[in-house]
Symmetry: C3
Subunit: 156 residues, 3 copies
C-alpha cells in the first residue's frame, strides 16, 4: 500500500495530492478574500472557466479578472462573506503531465451574521505544472441547484 | 516531524493517508452518482454496514447492492441530488494490516434548487488492502440527528 | 512536482501536511466528544486562544480547560451535538520550525434531530513540534458571523 503507481484514478503520490490540496486551499482563500489578481494567477494565460451558472465559457486571464471582479462586487453589495470549501478530491493523471481532478465544492455565504449554504457544486479541473506551481488550464463547475433531476419533487 | 511511525492514532504515512482520502472521494462520488455497482465494489465480499438509521446490520455485497439501490430510488423519487463529504479523517493502524478510521461525513441534499444539510454523521471504518486497492470490511455510521443527547433542548 | 521545498505557502512536504490534517482531525474530534483534557493537551503549556467571539485572549492550559469546559456545558444544556470541520488548510513554514496554518472551520450543531450551520470561521494557528507531536502555540479564530462587512445588506 506504500507504493506509488502512475495511472488510474486515485493513484498519484501523496506528494502530488498534498500539493493539489494546498493549491486549492490557496486558490479558494484568494477568491474568498477578494484578491482577484492572486486568483487569476492560478489559471494558465488561456485558462478556461465553464459553469452551468454562466451563459458562455470564460477564457483567458482578462476575462477571468472581469468574472472574479464582478463576483466580488456582487458579494460586497450584499454584504456577504463567501467561503468555498474543497473536498473529496479525486486525482487522475492524464497525458502530457496533466492532472484531472473531480472535487466537491459547497459554497457558504454569511450575511448579517447568518451563514447559509448557497449551493453545492462539483468542480472538474485540468491542472498543469509550471515554474510557479500548479495552474488551472480548464475548469468545469456544475451547480447542483441548477441541475434538473427528474422526479416527483422537481416535477411539482 | 518527517519520520513515519507505525502505531497509534495519526501515525501512518502520508502515502497511506493520501490513499485513504482518494479512496473515500471515489467511494462517495460513486454513491452520489448512483453507481451502486462501483460503490459495492469498495467493500469486501463479506463487508458489513451498520447504522443507527437501519434496523439491522447489512452484510455482504448482495445486501449492500439492495441497500444502495433503495437509497438511490428514494432520492430519485424526491428528485434529490445527494452529496457525502468526508472530513477530519483519523487513521489508526490495527492488527493484521487493518486501518481503522474515524471521519465526519455530513450529507447535503439538493431538491428543487435548494441545498440543505440533511444530517451530520460520524463514520467508523475498518479498511483492508487488496490487489484492487483499499476495501471496507466493516463500517459503522452514527447519525447525529438520531442520537438522543440529554439536555433541556432534547427534553422539551 | 515531486520535490519538496522548504519555504513559502503550500511548500511543505506531504508528510508534514498529512500530520497536520491528522492533528486537526484528532483535536476537533476530542473537542466535539467533550474530552476537554485531550483537547487542552493539543496546546502548548502557554498556548493562546484568541477569538472575535471572546472578550479577551485565553492563555495557558488552565484557562483553556475552563474555556473548553464552559463550551461543553453550554452545548449539554442545549442538548446540542457540535461538529467542527477543518478544510482548505494552507501551511506555511516560519522561523524556528513553526508552521503557520490558515484553515476554514465551519461549525455544525445538531439539536433535537435538526442539524444547522452555526457559524463559518477562519482559524489561523502557529503550530510547533514536540515529542508528543504537534501542538498549538497560538490560535486566532475569526467568526464570519461577527464580522461587519460594509454593504447594503449589513447596513439595513
Amino acid at each position: 500500500m506504500d507504493q506509488t503507481v502512475t495511472s488510474g484514478k486515485g493513484t498519484v503520490s501523496a506528494e502530488v495530492c498534498s500539493r493539489i490540496d494546498q493549491f486549492y486551499a490557496m486558490q479558494m482563500q484568494a477568491l474568498d478574500d477578494g484578491d482577484i489578481a492572486a486568483w487569476v494567477d492560478t489559471f494558465t494565460d488561456d485558462g478556461v472557466f465553464v459553469s452551468n451558472g454562466l451563459p458562455d465559457p470564460v477564457e483567458g486571464r482578462g476575462a477571468l479578472t472581469e468574472l472574479g471582479g464582478a463576483a466580488v462586487a456582487r458579494l460586497d453589495e450584499k454584504g456577504a462573506i463567501r467561503r468555498h470549501f474543497v473536498f473529496n478530491v479525486i486525482v487522475e493523471p492524464a497525458a502530457g503531465g496533466v492532472l484531472r481532478t473531480t472535487c466537491y465544492v459547497p459554497v457558504f455565504d454569511t450575511v448579517d451574521g447568518v451563514t447559509t449554504l448557497t449551493t453545492s457544486t462539483v468542480m472538474r479541473d485540468e491542472l498543469v505544472g509550471s515554474e510557479a506551481g500548479l495552474l488551472v488550464r480548464h475548469r468545469t463547475v456544475t451547480r447542483d441547484d441548477l441541475l434538473a433531476k427528474t422526479g416527483p419533487g422537481s416535477a411539482a
